[in-house]
C-alpha cells in the first residue's frame, strides 16, 4: 500500500560526516558489490566497457567547492536514498510497488509489482531512484535490508555495506528516531542537517557539516628563497669568496 504509515517504530538511517569524507569511493563500490547480489539485484551495467557507460548505482560521491568569506574548501558529498518520513516517491506509486516499512522506516520497491512508470524518480528531489532499463523496473537503496537483519553475518557486520566499507568512519548507521542512540547523539553534537528541508520530505538521513577551520594548523608561510644566480661585480666577487 502506498499510503504512508502514521509512524514507524524505528527510523533507521545514515549519518554522513562531510568533514571526514575523503571521496575515496569505497562506499560506492561496496554498495554496488553487495547490492548487485542483494535484495534489488542485479544492479545492471549497460555497455560497461564501451563509450557510453551507464548503469544502476545507489550511492554516488559528488565533489563540491564551498566558497565562503572564510575561504574555499573541497567537500566530498556522498548521495543516496534518505529514507524520508514523507517520501512522495511512495505516495505517487500507482501500483503499490513502493512502500515505507512501518517497523523501521526503510523505503523499498517490490520489483515484481513495478510497472516502470518512472513517476517515483520524478517525485524524488534527491535523485535516489535509478531506473534499470534492462529489467524495466525502478531500483533504489535498501539500506542493506539484507545485511542489517542478517543472522548469518557477524554482529559487527550487520550494517549497510557503505558504512562497513568507509575507511574514515564518515558513515554511521542507526536509529535516528531514538534520541538516546549514538547516531542521534552524534547529530545533536555536530549539528547534523537535513537536505532540502524546505520541500517537506523530512529526510531521515543527516549530514554533518564540515568542522570550523582550526587555528592550530601549521602556518604555511615558507621562508623566502635566496636567488640562485650569484650577483656580478665587486659584491658578487665577495659573495663567491665568502661562499668558498
Amino acid at each position: 500500500m502506498t499510503c504512508l504509515p502514521a509512524r514507524t517504530e524505528k527510523k533507521l538511517g545514515l549519518v554522513i560526516d562531510l568533514d571526514t569524507c575523503v571521496g575515496c569511493q569505497a562506499c560506492v563500490t561496496a554498495c554496488k558489490e553487495w547490492n548487485t547480489g542483494g535484495h534489488m539485484a542485479p544492479l545492471t551495467d549497460i555497455d560497461p566497457y564501451g563509450g557510453h557507460v551507464d548503469g544502476v548505482w545507489f550511492n554516488r560521491v559528488h565533489t563540491y567547492e564551498h566558497m565562503t568569506e572564510l575561504g574555499g574548501r573541497t567537500v566530498n558529498f556522498p548521495r543516496s536514498c534518505l529514507h524520508c518520513e514523507q517520501p512522495a516517491c511512495v505516495t505517487v506509486c500507482p501500483t503499490g510497488a513502493s512502500y515505507k516499512r512501518a517497523s523501521d522506516g526503510i523505503v523499498l520497491v517490490d520489483e515484481d509489482k513495478c510497472i516502470g512508470c518512472k513517476l517515483c524518480s520524478w517525485a524524488c528531489p534527491y535523485g535516489a531512484r535509478k531506473f534499470d532499463t534492462d529489467v524495466g523496473v525502478m531500483k533504489k537503496c535498501t539500506l542493506c535490508v539484507d545485511r542489517i537483519y542478517n543472522d548469518n553475518l557477524a554482529a559487527e557486520d550487520r550494517v549497510p555495506a557503505c558504512v562497513a566499507a568507509c575507511p574514515t568512519s564518515a558513515r554511521h548507521f542507526g536509529d535516528l528516531g531514538d534520541p538516546a542512540s549514538a547516531i542521534s547523539q552524534l547529530v545533536e553534537e555536530r549539528g547534523g542537517v537535513a537536505l532540502m528541508p524546505e520541500l517537506g520530505y523530512k529526510p531521515t538521513n543527516r549530514y554533518l557539516p564540515p568542522r570550523a577551520r582550526s587555528q592550530r594548523a601549521a602556518k604555511m608561510d615558507a621562508p623566502a628563497l635566496e636567488p640562485i644566480r650569484a650577483e656580478g661585480g665587486f659584491l658578487g666577487w665577495i659573495d663567491r669568496m665568502l661562499s668558498n
Binding site: 551507464d54 565533489t63 531506473f131
Partner: protein
C-alpha cells in the same frame, strides 16, 4: 525534464479527446447538438479514438507495460492511479451515451444523464492528469497553481476547436460554437502567456546550498561522480538552449493560438465550405501547436536533482 514523445502525445491527445467528449456529452445529451448518426459516429469515434491512442501511447513509456493493470490499485494516494481509474470509468457512461445518442438517435432523459456523467468523467480525468504534474514538488515549474487550470483550459480549448470543426464539417456549425471556440483559444493563449511569465520570474528556494546542506557562500560542482550521463541526467537533466526555447515558444503560440484564432475569425464571416475548411485547419494546426507547447512544458521544467550536478 526529458520530453518523452509518448507522454507528450498522451497528454495532448487525451486532452483534446476528453475536451471533445465532454462537449459532445453535454451538448448532445441536452439536445443542443442534433442526434445525427454520422456526426455522432465520427465525433464519438474521434473523441474516443484520441483518448485510446493517447492511453496506448502512455503505456509505451512504461518499462513493464504488461503489468499496467496494477496501476488501478493505489487510488488512495496516487494521482497516476486515479487517472487510470477515471479514464477507464469514463468509458462506461461514454459507451452508453454513444449507444443512446448515436445509434438510437436520442437526447434528453437517460441519454442526457449518461451524457452529463460522461462530461463529468472527462473533466475528472483531465484534472487527475494535471494533478500528476502539479503535485511534484521537485519541479517548481509544475508544482504551481498554473498547472491544473492549464490542463483544464487546454482540454476545453482543443476540444472546442475540434467540436466546431466537426459541426462545420457536417454543415451544422453555428456562430455561437465558433465564437466559443475562438474565445477558448484566446483564453488558452492568455493562460500560457501568464504561465510563462510566472515561470520566468520564479524564485526557487531550493539551491545547491540546501541540496548539500552546506550553509552560506556558494556551492559549485567541481567533479561529477561519473563521466557519462546516467539515468538521472538523461531523464531529469534535460536542457534546452534559451534561444531555442524562445523560438519554440513563438512557434507554439503561432500554431496553437494565433493561427487558429485567425482562422476561426475568418470562419465567423466566411460562407459555408470556406468556414468548414478554416475550422478544420484551425483544429489541425492547434493540435500540432499543442504538441510543441507540451514538449516545452517538459523541456523547460527543471528538477531539483540537477542542482547536484551543477546544472
Amino acid at each position: 525534464m526529458h520530453p518523452a514523445f509518448s507522454v507528450v502525445f498522451f497528454t495532448t491527445a487525451t486532452g483534446a479527446g476528453y475536451g471533445l467528449l465532454a462537449l459532445l456529452g453535454l451538448l448532445g445529451g441536452l439536445g443542443f447538438i442534433p442526434a445525427d448518426f454520422w456526426l455522432g459516429l465520427v465525433g464519438m469515434a474521434l473523441a474516443l479514438g484520441l483518448i485510446a491512442a493517447g492511453l496506448l501511447s502512455s503505456t509505451r513509456h512504461l518499462g513493464r507495460p504488461e503489468r499496467a493493470w496494477r496501476a488501478f490499485s493505489q487510488w488512495r494516494s496516487s494521482w497516476l492511479s486515479r487517472e487510470g481509474l477515471a479514464a477507464v470509468a469514463t468509458f462506461i457512461p461514454a459507451c452508453m451515451f454513444g449507444i443512446g445518442w448515436v445509434f438510437l438517435g436520442k437526447s434528453g432523459g437517460w441519454v442526457a444523464a449518461v451524457g452529463l456523467l460522461t462530461a463529468a468523467g472527462a473533466v475528472a480525468t483531465v484534472c487527475t492528469t494535471g494533478m500528476i504534474y502539479a503535485s511534484l514538488k521537485p519541479i517548481a515549474q509544475w508544482h504551481s497553481r498554473y498547472t491544473l487550470p492549464a490542463y483544464l483550459t487546454f482540454a476545453t480549448m482543443t476540444g472546442s476547436v475540434l467540436a466546431n470543426a466537426l459541426l462545420q464539417g457536417f454543415k451544422l456549425g453555428s456562430t455561437a460554437m465558433l465564437a466559443w471556440a475562438l474565445l477558448a483559444t484566446l483564453a488558452g493563449w492568455g493562460w500560457k502567456l501568464a504561465t510563462w511569465r510566472h515561470n520566468d520570474r520564479l524564485e526557487i528556494p531550493t539551491t545547491a546550498n540546501t541540496a548539500t546542506g552546506l550553509a552560506g557562500g556558494t556551492v559549485r560542482s567541481i567533479e561529477w561522480p561519473h563521466t557519462e550521463e546516467n539515468y538521472l541526467l538523461k531523464e531529469m537533466g534535460f536542457r534546452i538552449a534559451r534561444k531555442h526555447s524562445a523560438k519554440l515558444r513563438r512557434i507554439a503560440q503561432a500554431l496553437a493560438f494565433a493561427a487558429p484564432a485567425l482562422l476561426l475569425a475568418v470562419a465567423l464571416v466566411a460562407p459555408w465550405p470556406l468556414a468548414a475548411l478554416a475550422s478544420a485547419l484551425a483544429a489541425l494546426l492547434q493540435f500540432a501547436g499543442m504538441l510543441v507547447e507540451r514538449w516545452l512544458f517538459f523541456a523547460e521544467a527543471k528538477h531539483t536533482v540537477t542542482l547536484y550536478y551543477g546544472r
